[in-house]
Amino acid sequence: MGKIIVMTSGKGGVGKTTSSAAFATGLALRGFKTVVIDFDVGLRNLDLVMGCERRVVFDFINVINGEAKLNQALIKDKRVENLYILPTSQTRDKDALTKDGVERILNELCKDFDYIVCDSPAGIERGALMSLYFADHAIIVTNPEVSSVRDSDRILGVLNSKSRRAERGEEPVTQHLLLTRYDPERVEKGEMLKVDDVLEILAIPLLGVIPESQAVLRASNIGMPVILDEASNAGQAYLDAVGRFLGEDVEHRFISVPKKGLFSRLLRRSA
């Protein structure tokens, strides 16, 4: 029976799509049959980040409207076994999403897949609400700055009241914090919030800290989830986060300024 994970934030541009792509890939690398779904109807990006934008024939909205079958719309990833992508429509908008349609598709996916990762759009309106409604787990993607933290707090409130589990009085959606674009040097200068500051305000368990990394843009440019760039700090941090999600006890890396040896200082190595 598949588990539904929503990658949400409230705030835009914090790294939901990057994290959805990386996390889904990470789960698939561990052997779980995983599908990642783009809920950002009209502003789709997941297909770009996953590198399958030239293979999109049918999309999520086509399946909701009964214009295509689910297996016609699902795209199998070329690099990683067990990984599938369900892209969304670029020509429609979020009004095309219906609760019944989404429920039907998720139920069907739950039969075949171990994990279903829902890439939420920004905001607290229809698209975001649809993506979080059926979730079992929620990963709140947050940047260590005040606007993002406040919006994440808001989305936590929405999860507590507007998810299906909340409406039915079932076990609440489990909540995890993924702190992205973390720059320890700026934290030390006092320009950026510390991990502890964010945890104090949001008060949810920390899943992982993803450091600010130029590898993210490079990976997105070539349509490859950054978790596959094993040399990068961001990629490694995502691997750690997946491990923690699966119950492993992994120490948090990349949250303090690395002590630069003379050699690396001379060569000015960047992550």
Partner: protein, 249 residues
């Protein structure tokens, strides 16, 4: 036609007066024998039976049963004496033509024959001392509303007719309201409004004051106006002499 009626409506809307139909129940004083020497002493005693009922009561003078040829019936003096009893003659009905004309001349209004209605005179109680009202029942103990999770941004919690106790933080953009006191065992970062139904004795307590706004019984203070010395400290907020006091705990 439509234009005319709408013009009329406009005229009515802007007019400085309005005519309306209304109906009033009026007392009728049937004058049977105005010449009787006891007339006004009897009238007076009747009025004293229920002084509040009769005071400034408008009366219509019914002259139907005036004896024929009531010589020298001085309506002006009569009306004056009726007024002395605190009754206000405002109109008249019936009577011979001469009396009617005289009544009209002193400003009484000729009334159409109305319908007789039962008039229940309220009798003053024997013992005029008013018993004190029974004391209100003791308010039943209302347990406080307890919230054990952080109050997230965009959430509003209202403790109706009781206190509010929160054992976690209140986030920015969250609102907590109570008719009673508000106790926050955590940081207050949003808005807290206590005593919102009018209890000026309500208080707000929190472990770290970082609030956007606090209010007791309608009087409020915003974050900008909170003194440095109390920000991020455990405080008690209360209303005293019309001023919000924020005191460190």
């Amino acid at each position: 036609m439509v234009a005319v009626s709408s013009a009329n409506q406009v005229a009515e809307r802007d007019a400085p007066f309005q005519f309306r139909g209304n109906s009033f129940t009026m007392m009728v004083l049937k004058v049977v024998d105005p010449a009787s020497p006891n007339f006004f002493s009897l009238l007076g005693s009747k009025v004293r039976q229920a002084p509040n009922f009769f005071r400034h009561a408008p009366v219509v003078l019914d002259f139907d049963e005036l004896p024929e040829g009531a010589a020298g019936f001085d309506i002006t003096a009569f009306a004056l004496k009726v007024r002395e009893q605190n009754l206000l003659p405002i109109g008249f009905v019936g009577g011979p033509r001469a009396v009617q004309e005289a009544a009209l001349a002193i400003g009484l209004v000729p009334m159409p024959a109305g319908r007789a209605a039962r008039l229940d005179v309220v009798r003053a109680p024997e013992n005029t001392a008013v018993a004190p009202p029974a004391p209100p029942p003791e308010p039943a103990y209302r347990p406080a509303l307890v919230v054990n999770e952080p109050v997230r941004s965009g959430t509003q919690i209202y403790a109706e007719k009781c206190d509010l106790i929160i054992t976690a933080a209140v986030s920015h953009g969250a609102e907590v309201l109570a008719d009673g006191n508000i106790h926050i065992y955590g940081a207050l970062r949003g808005r807290a409004l206590a005593g919102i139904s009018g209890d000026a004795g309500a208080r707000i307590f929190c472990q770290s004051l970082e609030a956007e706004l606090v209010s007791i019984c309608g009087l409020y203070r915003v974050s900008e106006d909170m003194d440095e010395s109390v920000v991020k400290k455990p405080v008690q907020i209360r209303l005293s002499e019309g001023y919000l006091h924020i005191q460190p705990l």
